[in-house]
Each structure stands twice: as structure tokens, then as C-alpha cells.
């Protein structure tokens, strides 16, 4: 079975209502993902794409991912290596997209974090540790119906497993 999902990295902290045009700006939507990802968050933090490193954790406020259904909003974060997003609340399509693509998205109302804090995320258990502040926070658990999909690494691998080997 899949290894337990745990993510650890530095916090990049954003405010409320980070929308899909900030995550995946329209003018670059026709471009390959690698190019689109370089513009991720540039409207609110122009240096984000160049500073973020694999495993880093994006911390958001309420309404994270509001707007379009474009899953490039999730894929841009994955492309940059973001390990998980922890937010006070997610827009419904972004939340579904994130889990479908294997990006852990955790609802955590209480998390306190500043830029650069060392954050560890336990999506399955539903908790987050801020090692810098030495504090632990409880999160909303991912719905049971979705846990299987997340554990498989996303909807396509999950379906692949369910549909069995390719019949050709």
C-alpha cells in the first residue's frame, strides 16, 4: 500500500481568498505547465515561484482557490513542489481538484504560522505541527469517501487500480 503521507517544509503564508487567477493566471493558461507555474502567485508575491522549494507548505486563509475550475491552480503548486496546502477554508472545486491530483489540502482554522516556519502536515491523521512554534493543531479530517483516492495518489491512479490492468 501507499506510504503514509506526511509533508514537511517551510511555510509560505498568504491571506484570504487566494483565487485561481492568482494561482494560474489566465494569460499563461495556453502555455505549458512549467511556464504557467513560474507565474503562480505573482500577482500577490512575485518572488514565490523562485523561492519555494520542494516540500514547502502553502498556508492560506479562507476561500483558498476560489474562482475557476482550472486545475492548473493545483498543478502549478505541484509543479513548484509544494507539499501541501493548509487553509482556513477552500473553495469547493479547488478542494476536490487538490485531492484528485494528490495535493493534500487540509482545513485548519487555528493554525498560526509565519513565513519560513517549519511546518509538518499529517493529512491522514488530520493534524499540523508548527515546529518553529512547537505547537500542534487539529484539522478537519478528509472525508472517508475521499481518503482512498488521496492515499492512491489521486483519482487517475485510483481509477487505474480499480479498473485493473489495461485490457488494450
Amino acid at each position: 500500500m501507499s506510504a503514509p503521507i506526511v509533508r514537511r517544509g517551510r511555510a509560505f503564508v498568504f491571506g484570504d481568498q487566494i483565487d485561481t487567477d492568482v494561482l494560474a493566471p489566465g494569460p499563461y493558461m495556453k502555455k505549458p505547465l512549467s511556464e504557467l507555474a513560474r507565474h503562480c502567485m505573482e500577482a500577490v508575491d512575485p518572488g514565490f515561484a523562485s523561492r519555494v522549494r520542494p516540500g514547502d507548505i502553502v498556508v492560506g486563509g479562507v476561500g483558498f482557490g476560489i474562482g475557476s475550475s482550472r486545475e492548473q491552480a493545483v498543478q502549478a503548486l505541484l509543479e513548484l513542489g509544494v507539499g501541501a496546502v493548509v487553509a482556513k477554508g477552500f473553495a469547493r472545486i479547488f478542494y476536490r481538484n487538490a485531492l484528485n491530483l494528490g495535493l493534500p489540502a487540509l482545513v485548519c482554522e487555528d493554525l498560526e504560522a509565519s513565513a519560513g516556519d517549519e511546518i509538518e502536515v499529517f493529512p491522514v491523521e488530520g493534524r499540523v505541527i508548527n515546529h518553529t512554534r512547537r505547537r500542534e493543531y487539529a484539522c478537519e479530517p478528509i472525508p472517508a469517501a475521499l481518503m482512498e483516492v488521496v492515499a492512491a495518489g489521486g483519482l487517475v491512479p485510483w481509477l487505474e487500480h480499480r479498473l485493473g490492468p489495461r485490457s488494450g
Binding site: D21, P27, A43, E71, R92, L163, S167
Partner: protein
């Protein structure tokens, strides 16, 4: 059987259950699946191939090319070519460049009362205008839905918006939604929004589409209006002969709802949303004199025939201000044709409007009408997020087609009521 709201009845039917209750997770059989050129074949083809799977029921799938039409560069042209090939190879109905998906679906009678529909676009709640339960999802989930023909839904609580009192002249469904964005905020994902009341009953199907469409801006699961005789007439016009089962597709009068909001439509002034959120809405009077470089009438929300007529009412016999450009991208070619036939189009062009191709265009920063840094635009579109229509340093205001047209004449944000007297 316990009393249920209309959305609950549709979910129960689609899930093969007698009843559903809020919070329950149910798997629904899909009656119609829509995808477009941006989130459709270009994003699902490889995944379906990887799964070695086929489309579960090609007769239930509709593809609409609208985001990158007509192609303005090679990237877009290739995406459109791939969409064409893939739709043909899978035997799917494909509307290619003749209008914006949410409008085209209804023009061609694909969405009907009581249906459970899934769209690969966030404004898919538009389908609720016809009394269907239609939700938006991303491309991976579209892939899953194409294979299984199902989608899981966490049954939402119902938020009822009752609008009574006829909307004043110069006030449109768009103003209602901007007002709701400001009062309810954009994080209502727990709710399906049911729109009703005498003002809603009096609205055209195009205007009901705006209510449901912009439920996406409220962050709601979806929006819905109970079908009535206007719905039936629209379906007839779209070539759907079936009578509506009115007794079935309505909320039971005693069905519990989570929250009810009442709006007096007759007291609502025109609204505008300041950059960069639809929730930054206020009475137009509070924003007058904001200078505009561009006025944009476009999108599924804001460029249907009814929207073009609103703009024409304001623009008739007037001219767009010097230093301001008015761009109009009608929502479908059929609507452009009708607007031409009845003279609406001539009113717009005589006022100095620049006619753009049908399609999503500048609404999502993908076609003609992009903004430069420092520019200000007022648009009849649904969202004004930073960077959406071009430069992240551009400022986009939202308003109804009346307000956008009035602002184009004045050269600054203006109350359309003074042009309608």
C-alpha cells in the same frame, strides 16, 4: 416521505435513493456532462488513454469550444484542433466556436428540469436556470466522470434567496448577484442556492442564468430556480417537446432550509464591484467618476441577447466617450444573428462599440480585449480577480450591461438610470 427541497429531490433521484439529507455523501449518475476546449480533451485525453478506458456514454457528453476561439495564436489553434479531433473520434456532440458553453447548452436544449449535470467549468451552476442540478468540477474529475458516469456529491444545505418586488428600470440580475456577493461573501460552499420569489418568476431565462451562473462567485455548490412556464417555453424554443413535471421538480413547501435571505428587488440600485473581487460591491453612486479606459460587454454572464439589448437601451443615439473603448463579444453566434436582425447590433456599433468574436475572450484573459498595466476596465463579466483580464496591475470593475454601457458613454463609471429616462 420527508419533505425535500428541489436540489435534494434531484440528488436523490440521481443517486437512486428515496431521500437524501444535507451532509450525506452520495454517488450520482450523470445525465449530462459538458466540457470545453480549455479543460476538456486537451486535459483528459492522455488520462483516459492511460486508463485504457472509453467514454461511458457518448450520447450524454457535449463538448463546447469557447475559451480559445477563434484561435489568436498557434497554442490556441493546436488546442482547438485537438478538441475537434478528439470529439469526433469519440462520437461526441461538439459545438465549435458558436458560443459560450453555458449559453450554448441551454440554446440547444441539453439541460432540462430534474437533470443531474456536471460541467468542466466553474460557472456550470448556470444549468440551474432550467431547474437542473449542475455542478462544476476540474479536469481530473471530468476524466473520472467520463469513465464511470458518476460523481460523488456531499449533499449541500439549501440557502433560499427570495427576491420580491420588481427590479427597477436599469437594474438587472447582475446587480442582484453583486449585491449578494457583498452581503453573503464568497465562501458559501456548504450551500446550494435556490432563487425564488416574484421578481425571479418575472425574470427571463437569460437573467435566471445570471443568478445561477454567479452562484459560483458566492462559492456555492450550485444555484437553481424552480422550473415554470417560462422554462417550458424556453425548452420548446430549444426544440425540447417534453412537458415539465411541475409537481415533482419543486421544493416541498415544508422542506427545511438552512437559511433564507429576502431581498426587496424594487429597492436595489445598480451595483458595481471594485477591484479585485465581486464581493467588493457597492451602489454605483459610490463609484461614480472612476475613469475607465475600457468597457467590456462579454461572457456567459454578461453578453447574451438580453444583455446586448440592455446595452443598446442605454447607447441608443449616444456615442462612446473619447479616450474610452467599448468592446462587445456576444455570447453566441445565434444571439449575434438575432441582434443583427432586430437592429440591436446597429445601435451598438453606431455608438462606436467594437464588435469582437463570440467566445470567452478577455473574460478569462484568453482572447481580444486584454488590459495593460495601470488601465481601468468596467466589465459585464462575472469576476474581476487580479490579473484575470491581462496585467496584474490593471483594475477591473464589474457592473451590469446597463452600467457598463453608461460608463462607456460617460468615460467614467456612471449610473445607467440617468440614461434611461
Amino acid at each position: 416521505m420527508p419533505a425535500m427541497t428541489l436540489p435534494e429531490k434531484i440528488l436523490a433521484r440521481a443517486a437512486g435513493l428515496d431521500t437524501v439529507r444535507p451532509g450525506q455523501i452520495v454517488t450520482c449518475a450523470i445525465d449530462l456532462l459538458m466540457m470545453h476546449d480549455s479543460g476538456g480533451p486537451r486535459r483528459v485525453a492522455a488520462r483516459l488513454e492511460r486508463l485504457g478506458a472509453r467514454v461511458w456514454d457518448p450520447s450524454k457528453v457535449v463538448v463546447v469550444s469557447d475559451h480559445f476561439v477563434p484561435a489568436t495564436d498557434l497554442d490556441g489553434a493546436e488546442i482547438l484542433a485537438l478538441t475537434r479531433r478528439w470529439a469526433a473520434a469519440h462520437g461526441l456532440t461538439h459545438y465549435d466556436g458558436i458560443g459560450i458553453c453555458h449559453v450554448v447548452l441551454q440554446e440547444h436544449g441539453h439541460v432540462r428540469p430534474g437533470m443531474f449535470c456536471v460541467g468542466g467549468d466553474s460557472h456550470s451552476p448556470s444549468g440551474g436556470a432550467v431547474g437542473a442540478y449542475m455542478v462544476g468540477v476540474g479536469a481530473t474529475e471530468i476524466t473520472g466522470a467520463l469513465v464511470t458516469g458518476t460523481l460523488w456529491i456531499k449533499v449541500p444545505e439549501t440557502l433560499r434567496v427570495r427576491i420580491d418586488g420588481a427590479l427597477a428600470p436599469g437594474v438587472a440580475a447582475k446587480d442582484v448577484m453583486l449585491h449578494l456577493c457583498a452581503t453573503l461573501g464568497m465562501n458559501n460552499d456548504r450551500y446550494v442556492v435556490e432563487y425564488g420569489g416574484s421578481a425571479v418568476a418575472a425574470l427571463s431565462m437569460s437573467e435566471r442564468l445570471v443568478l445561477c451562473n454567479m452562484t459560483a462567485e458566492l462559492g456555492g455548490e450550485t444555484g437553481i430556480v424552480e422550473p415554470d412556464t417560462a422554462t417550458e417555453a424556453a425548452l420548446r424554443a430549444a426544440g425540447v417537446p417534453d412537458a415539465i413535471d411541475y409537481a415533482r421538480w419543486r421544493s416541498d413547501p415544508d422542506a427545511p432550509v438552512a437559511r433564507t435571505i429576502a431581498i426587496d428587488g424594487s429597492r436595489l440600485p445598480p451595483q458595481v464591484a471594485a477591484p479585485h473581487s465581486p464581493a467588493n460591491s457597492r451602489d454605483v453612486g459610490e463609484a461614480e467618476r472612476v475613469r475607465v479606459d475600457q468597457a467590456y460587454i462579454g461572457a456567459c454572464t454578461g453578453a447574451k441577447l438580453s444583455d446586448l439589448r440592455m446595452a443598446a437601451q442605454v447607447l441608443r443615439g449616444r456615442k462612446v466617450a473619447k479616450g474610452t473603448r467599448l468592446l462587445i463579444a456576444p455570447a453566441s453566434t445565434a444571439m449575434t444573428a438575432e441582434a443583427a436582425r432586430e437592429g440591436t447590433l446597429a445601435t451598438l456599433t453606431e455608438a462606436g462599440a467594437i464588435l469582437l468574436p463570440t467566445g470567452c475572450g478577455a473574460c478569462a484573459g484568453m482572447g481580444a480585449g486584454m488590459l495593460a498595466a495601470g488601465e481601468t476596465c468596467i466589465a459585464s463579466t462575472a469576476r474581476n480577480f487580479k490579473g484575470r483580464m491581462g496585467s496584474p496591475d490593471a483594475r477591473v470593475w464589474l457592473g451590469s450591461p446597463y452600467t457598463v454601457a453608461a460608463s462607456a458613454i460617460a468615460g467614467h463609471i456612471a449610473d445607467p438610470r440617468s440614461f434611461l429616462a
